[in-house]
Amino acid sequence: MYRYDNYDFALVRERVAQFRDQLARWQSGALSDDEFRPLRLQNGLYVQRHAPMLRIAVPYAMLSSAQLRALAHVARTWDRGYGHFTTRHNMQFNWPRIEDCPDILDYLSQFEMHAIQTSGNCIRNVTTDQFAGIAPDELIDPRPLAEILRQWSTFHPEFAFLPRKFKIAISGTREDRALTWFHDVGLHLNLDAQGKPCFRVIVGGGLGRTPIRGEVVRESLPWEHILTYLEAILRVYNLHGRRDNLYKARIKILVQALGIEEFSRQVEAEWAHLKDGPGTLTQAEYDRVQAHFGAPAYRTLPAEDPDFLRHKAEDKAFARWVSRCVHPHRVQGYAAVTLSLKAPGQAPGDITAEQMEAAARLADAFSFGEARSSHEQNLILADVEQGRLHELWLAAKALNLATPSVGLLTDMICCPGGDFCDLANAKSIPIANAIQARFSDLDYLFDLGDLDLNISGCMNACGHHHVGHIGILGVDKNDAEFYQITLGGRQGSDARTGKVIGPSFSAAEVPDAVEKIINVYLAHRHQEETFLDTFDRIGPEPFKNKVYEDRAHGKAKSRNEEVTP
């Protein structure tokens, strides 16, 4: 993975000094709360329901074992012994003291980590596919360009005060695993007719209050132009994006208002001035960065390891784990492994300091000292020998990191929700736990097969509820917490948002509603059909009829009935 040079270290250290000074000026009253807020947000520091929250960047998901240990040290020293992986690869600490944050960041800077632009109305952490570099369907490893984008976006002088946050995702595979159609900018790395790397540039996607699938603004952009082209997009957005209404300030609203043709025309006009300028990337820079992402020292291994096959045949629990948590690798004899952070009763994405250190040990022992965080809020070991999977499984099981549920109903994506977040309308973790408790039978879960259930505590959609096959959204109705259910959303190349099925439910009703939805699927499915296949074939009506069978169709119960079911 990328390692800092002296320039990178200097910038991160200067940032710590800058933030320490800003904090001191805020404490002295020289900076007002309103003046300090955007500054601390651009350094990942929120003031939350109970305590501040500090969000540490995990650029394009890559973590070294040393970084995992450093995060464990932070969790233990300055927090309550755990952290939380977000849906954008980052790690959040929910209980630091504000005055400790400069020391935390100073400590992390030694390990090439920071909180730069993990929040605020600026260019955020660039995300990608958790299997970047090892996926069999990969055309180009997106990580060198993701790192180049990280550097370009860090303290970009023109775009630090955009109308709203700006998120870029980059994917280099045939199947999109980075949710690129639902980012402010989504980039697909591809090869053009001459075999030269190029980007498809998608703009104006997003979840949140107004979910919109992005549109292609340029089908094929030669790779060396990516920075100048992005500057053209950002300049049009910076000058013309709405600043009068927080909910209409994302670039998707500008793209919708102008239409993609007019937006594209403005971008191209701006780009005509920037194209071939000094921001044009050089092969030397690409090569310099790419050298950090060379293949590790893979061994020559058989395609199928006999011990692995034997264990799989003899041990049903191991075979189950393999079927859900082991993923194909482009190098023969290797596999990628998901260490699940979705154990029953645990808040999805939460990880204790002990688990971080244990994951670091596993990364050192099994995967060249590197790990990744996924937007599904799990950890990944990307380069494991097939012949050592059984040994790894035993170790992970002992650490409660081997829940064999990846891609199943209980592998939920879930935001921190009303237990922690100030923005939330409703709690989300208790809903996740209630669903986990209801669907705890593994045989049953395996029989259900692939099923994404995503939960967000508010419209901001951090839990990606729009793209869950089943999506659950916390809403506020007259100061009470309710949950709206959507069906049919999905990630991937065919990404789209689900549709609301009807009136919302109280927290206590949600597990029943989910169970009814599952039962409709089981009653209608043809052999080998996934939940989504069945849904696409039969449509939402059978689900609605079952879920609302006790209610006048399409009519909410009165509030009293809902509060006391």
Partner: protein
């Protein structure tokens, strides 16, 4: 006379800003160094040119610069207003003035201008700052040294670090 940060020093500011209400179509124009709002400039352009040797222009952040291109030669100072410091349009305007329109006079930030924005503002072409009232200009001077070697090319250093990096 109020003070100004210019070329990273605190100096006296001879420029006065005129409000559009103070200069309707017929009232006499004040003498001295005046920052004229764009609406006044558009209304009384020839009169201003004949009566003032040094002319300043005062812009709101929603200004379209393209129609002003031919007029830029008249201005010694262009002030860009920041109604709120978190409104970042002025950064693009300053950069366009320098890079696209090759404007070489003073570009000053005015309005809700604070210590922590100075570093990035100098990168995109500002060279003068009228800080918000009550803010400590001497302390704000420290902001110019926040980062030694940023990654991107901009007005202060056209070449991005990747074109200058030495191992």
């Amino acid at each position: 006379m109020s003070t100004l940060i210019k070329n990273k020093r605190i100096v006296a500011d001879p420029w006065q800003t005129l409000s559009p209400e103070e200069s309707p179509a017929a009232a006499p124009l004040p003498e001295g160094d005046i920052l004229f709002p764009l609406s006044v400039w558009q209304l009384r352009r020839n009169e201003i040119i004949s009566s003032h040797k040094r002319i300043g222009l005062w812009l709101e952040p929603d200004t379209d610069l393209a129609p002003l291109e031919a007029d830029l030669q008249y201005f010694v100072v262009i002030a860009i207003n920041f109604p709120k410091f978190a409104d970042g349009r002025g950064y693009s305007l300053a950069r366009l003035l320098r890079e696209r329109y090759h404007y070489e006079g003073e570009i000053r930030a005015t309005g809700d201008v604070l210590h922590d924005q100075l570093f990035l503002m100098q990168r995109v072409g500002f060279d003068a700052w009228a800080l918000k009232d009550g803010k400590d200009a001497a302390q704000a001077l420290e902001a110019f040294a926040t980062f030694k070697t940023p990654y991107q090319g901009a007005v202060d250093e056209p070449l991005p670090l990747f074109r200058r990096r030495t191992p």
